[in-house]
């Protein structure tokens, strides 16, 4: 498992503010030039790994997708130099930021495109706080489909962040049409995507989120995919405390366990990690927690396949007719079968009790009593205290509690 050591070049948070952690990613360093925070983004083609066994030629910034998270503080003057190492023009739109019109980055509308080989400077003063994003606004369909995007986090001025956040995570949601057996996303797809990612990673390659029991955790999530995503956290109730409209007044906070983050929106969740354990955090669109899968596969559930399977095997000796009892065995067989090149199973991942049967937009929040404040190492699987775990009580298929099982009446 990846060690979540923060980028040493990342900007130091002011005061006692926790550093933003971008799981599977990093924050962008800057230099101070005459009081201006100067960042440098390079748009370029990259080799990206979604998970071991699945890589692609993508486009991103500074060698990654998403690009590095930009962090600054409300009131900062920032200058962002953008170099174009693509073979086509690009721009960057600072999604949600209040800035001069000429800095908004819409190609043709606000500026001429940044041609290949050119470096342009965007410079403006940050007049707001909150979780924001950046992405191209030139050949947007292709460039975003290929992964060009990043988070732009503006911290409020000192003391505006109350109560204090102990761990501050940032994730960007995206979808990819990386068809099985291919090595470059297909920008023409509008609905039938193959991969659903947190920070351009699919489970089980998504890094877990860590928290010590009692810590206040913020989860910043932006959505630059083409679907809305109901993000669901197990074992905790969170408040939705902010968006691309900055931190909401406390009276507007919404307590939830699932919150839909619409396309182009950002949301901040805050919660007290008061429940030790390994807690699933995922999009609740169930297909979004799958990796590549067939969407027009005939449904075998409930079918009696013995005769057909014998006949099929006489024609296709390698055939494995699965799914007549459900799709779970697909996950069991995933590690045993050879799939198409560059394709991971639709669901996989093993926990201490077997297959987790997940993929895509899925990760684990690991809450531990004994985690040090600056410890970012994966603590392993949770050990359940006695009496706190479901247990087997019977092997009898006809098991009942001494009275007839509750069934709908025949009326």
């Amino acid at each position: 498992m990846e060690n979540l050591v923060p980028n040493p070049a990342a900007p130091k948070p002011a005061g006692n503010r926790a550093p933003v952690q971008t799981p599977n990613g990093r924050s962008l360093p800057y230099r101070l030039v005459n009081g201006v925070k100067e960042f440098h983004l390079t748009a370029e083609e990259i080799d990206h790994e979604f998970a071991p066994g699945c890589t692609a030629k993508c486009w991103g910034y500074n060698g990654s997708t998403p690009g590095p998270t930009i962090e600054a503080v409300e009131g900062d003057r920032v200058r962002i130099l953008v170099s174009n190492h693509l073979r086509e023009p690009t721009t960057i739109h600072w999604h949600g930021l209040l800035l001069p019109n000429g800095m908004d980055g819409v190609s043709g509308l606000n500026q001429a495109p940044i041609k290949p080989g050119e470096t342009w400077a965007y410079e403006f003063t940050l007049r707001q706080a909150g979780t924001h994003m950046y992405h191209p606004h030139a050949d947007e369909l292709v460039q975003m489909a290929f992964g060009m995007m990043g988070l732009f986090i503006i911290h409020p001025k000192a003391s505006a962040d109350e109560p204090a956040i102990d761990r501050d995570y940032a994730m960007l949601l995206h979808n990819w049409a990386l068809h099985p057996g291919t090595y470059r996303p297909d920008p023409a797809v509008m609905l039938d995507f193959d991969l659903w990612t947190f920070n351009s990673k699919i489970y089980p390659a998504t890094a877990p989120l860590l928290a010590r029991t009692g810590e206040r955790v913020r989860l910043r999530i932006g959505n630059l995919s083409m679907w809305n995503h109901p993000i669901h956290l197990h074992g905790h109730r969170f408040w939705v405390t902010g968006s691309d409209g900055d931190r909401w007044p406390r009276s507007a906070w919404i307590p939830e366990v699932t919150h839909i983050i619409g396309v182009g929106q950002t949301r901040d969740f805050e919660f007290i990690a008061d429940n030790p354990g390994d807690w699933a955090l995922h999009c609740h669109m169930v297909h979004h927690t799958m990796n590549a899968m067939g969407h027009s596969v005939p449904n075998p559930v409930g079918a009696k396949l013995a005769e057909a399977d014998a006949k099929i095997r006489s024609v296709l000796p390698g055939n494995m007719s699965m799914g007549s009892d459900g799709m779970s065995e697909m996950a069991d067989m995933a590690g045993m079968m050879q799939g198409p090149p560059n394709t991971v199973p639709m669901m996989s991942g093993n926990g201490s009790f077997g297959s987790i049967e997940m993929g895509g937009m899925f990760t684990v929040l690991k809450v531990r009593d004994d985690l040090a404040a600056d410890d970012t190492r994966d603590p392993g699987w949770y050990r359940h205290p006695p009496g706190t775990q479901a247990k087997l009580v019977s092997f009898d298929p006809q098991f009942a509690l001494g009275f007839a099982r509750d069934k709908p009446s025949d009326s």
Binding site: T55, Y183, K311, I312, N319, P341, T343, V344
Partner: protein, 517 residues
């Protein structure tokens, strides 16, 4: 009548008897010469119905039919049993009769007369004998022509044997191809039935609509129909071969050995085949013999232009007054009105006709050879394209769709469909191989004998049993050296070797295995 009075007949009759004694044909009507001739062209006759008794023929036939039939067995059976062989032998008899007839004189004519006195005296009488003088004179020349024509007849018989053997070979390959084609269509039917059964199971579970089910069922029914058609073609092809092997409808319990082989390594040189055909075609030799006979006949006609009916004879007479007389007689036709022009013109025209036939046959042979060479070349190219490109790709598609089905990316209908398409490609492959061997038969027929490259034909057969493993092997093996003659059943779906686009060559694309957190 003194004996001396009759001695005048002796010079007339004795030479004729001697000449007649020289004009015979062999007791076998020249059949051994025919056998030796076709053997020299690569076609052994061992034996034929003309060589053995019916009992021996039946025994040999039974022995051959007890084993799976190879190409040579089919031809041996055909040459042994086909009534055409007896017909060829009978034709030799007809030609032999011509030789016998040409070598014999017309019979002498005996004439007699009686006279009864109307006034006084005794009865008178006379008799005489005459012989066609020209017939006697022309006898040696006519015998030579007849013997030359018998040579032509033997060449014609040899050509007929070669044609018969080629026809049997053609039918043999058609029968094998039809059998293997029927086997492939049965496999396609099997795959379609599997898809239909799977669809029925899903329909019964409530997961498939009736329309979706019917799409699969109609495909299965169509495949069954196609398989039935192929089975009918197989049976017809078997019966055709049965007929050409001279067997009755009660003798169909035989099996064909193996399947069609892949093309040989190296074909014959085209120019060499043209030269060979021009030198050895027996029908051309027969036509050339016919021309030679006609040319000799023309020369004979010219040299005897002024000779017409001439008869020599000897007469004896006693008239009514009992005077006797005896002496030779001669009668000659006088060339007053007809001086042999028509005979010459006919002989000349027959030479020209024979020459035209020789010339036409030369052109036909040249083009037949070239046509068969072209057929062979194109069939061979098709075999190569199918074997090294189309079939490995079809196999790869089967493996890839199978892999995707096992991974939940596709349903099972896709790999089943891919398998049927692979079988259809194998059908094309089989058809190309069949065309190749039929082209070789046509080429051998055009060349007039077995091809020099026949020596390369090995025992390895490329039957459906043996080329299935070829299809199901990974592409790298299938495209390398050719088929294995071993039958080992189908591989389980082995993934095709990973192919990555050149643009991604720097990627470390690892094959997937499960990833644990």
């Amino acid at each position: 009548m003194s004996r001396a009075n009759y001695s005048g007949f002796a010079p007339l009759v004795l030479p004729a008897l001697l000449l007649n004694a020289c004009a015979n044909i062999p007791a076998d009507r020249g059949w051994v010469d025919v056998r030796n001739s076709v053997a020299a062209h690569g076609q052994e006759i061992s034996p034929s119905s003309n060589d053995v008794t019916d009992t021996a023929r039946a025994a040999t036939t039974e022995k051959l039919l007890a084993q799976p039939l190879h190409f040579e067995d089919a031809i041996t059976l055909g040459l042994l049993n086909s009534p055409q062989m007896a017909a060829i032998y009978a034709q030799l008899g007809l030609a032999g009769a011509e030789v016998l007839q040409a070598g014999r004189l017309s019979n002498p004519k005996l004439s007699g007369s009686f006279g009864f006195p109307l006034t006084s005296g005794g009865a008178g009488f006379g008799f005489g004998i005459t012989q066609d003088f020209l017939g006697l004179l022309f006898l040696p020349a006519r015998s030579r022509l007849a013997r030359a024509d018998f040579g032509r007849a033997k060449a014609t018989a040899g050509a007929a044997v070669m044609q018969l053997a080629a026809g049997i070979g053609h039918s043999y390959y058609l029968a094998i191809e039809a059998r293997q084609n029927a086997e492939l269509l049965a496999l396609i039917e099997q795959a379609a039935d599997a898809a239909s059964t799977y669809a029925q199971a899903l329909f019964d579970a409530g997961n498939l609509s009736e329309l979706q089910l019917d799409v699969q069922k109609v495909a299965s029914a169509q495949a069954e129909l196609d398989a039935e058609d192929a089975a009918a073609e197989r049976d017809m092809a078997r019966l055709q071969l049965n007929r050409e092997m001279g067997l009755s409808a009660t003798q169909t319990e035989w099996q064909l050995a193996g399947g069609l082989s892949l093309p040989i390594a190296q074909e014959d040189d085209a120019q060499q085949l043209q030269t060979l055909a021009a030198a050895q075609r027996l029908d051309l030799q027969a036509a050339q013999a016919e021309l030679a006979v006609r040319q000799a006949a023309l020369a004979f006609a010219r040299s005897t232009r002024w000779l017409f009916n001439a008869e020599l004879g000897s007469d004896y007479a006693r008239d009514t007054d009992r005077d006797r007389s005896a002496g030779p007689s001669i009668s000659l036709a006088l060339p007053v009105f007809e001086q042999g022009q028509s005979r010459l013109l006919r002989a000349q025209a027959e030479v020209e006709l024979a020459q035209a036939q020789v010339d036409e046959l030369r052109i036909d042979i040249s083009n037949e050879v070239q046509s068969a060479i072209e057929q062979l070349k194109h069939a061979r190219h098709r075999v190569d394209l199918l074997g090294t490109r189309l079939l490995p790709l079809r196999q790869s598609i089967v493996e890839q769709t199978q892999t995707r089905a096992n991974y939940g990316l596709l349903g099972v209908f896709e790999p089943l469909q891919a398998k049927q398409q692979k079988y259809a490609a194998e059908q094309g492959y089989l058809n190309a191989i069949g065309d190749y061997w039929l082209a070789r038969v046509a080429l051998a027929r055009a060349v007039g004998g077995r091809l020099p490259s026949d020596a390369q034909i090995g025992a390895a057969q490329t039957g459906i049993e043996s080329f299935k493993p070829l299809m199901d092997q990974p592409r790298s093996i299938a495209s390398a050296a050719g088929p294995s003659s071993q039958s080992s059943g189908e591989n389980t779906a082995q993934p095709a070797p990973s192919r990555q686009p050149a643009a991604n060559s720097q990627h470390a694309h690892s094959s997937h295995s499960g990833v644990s957190p």
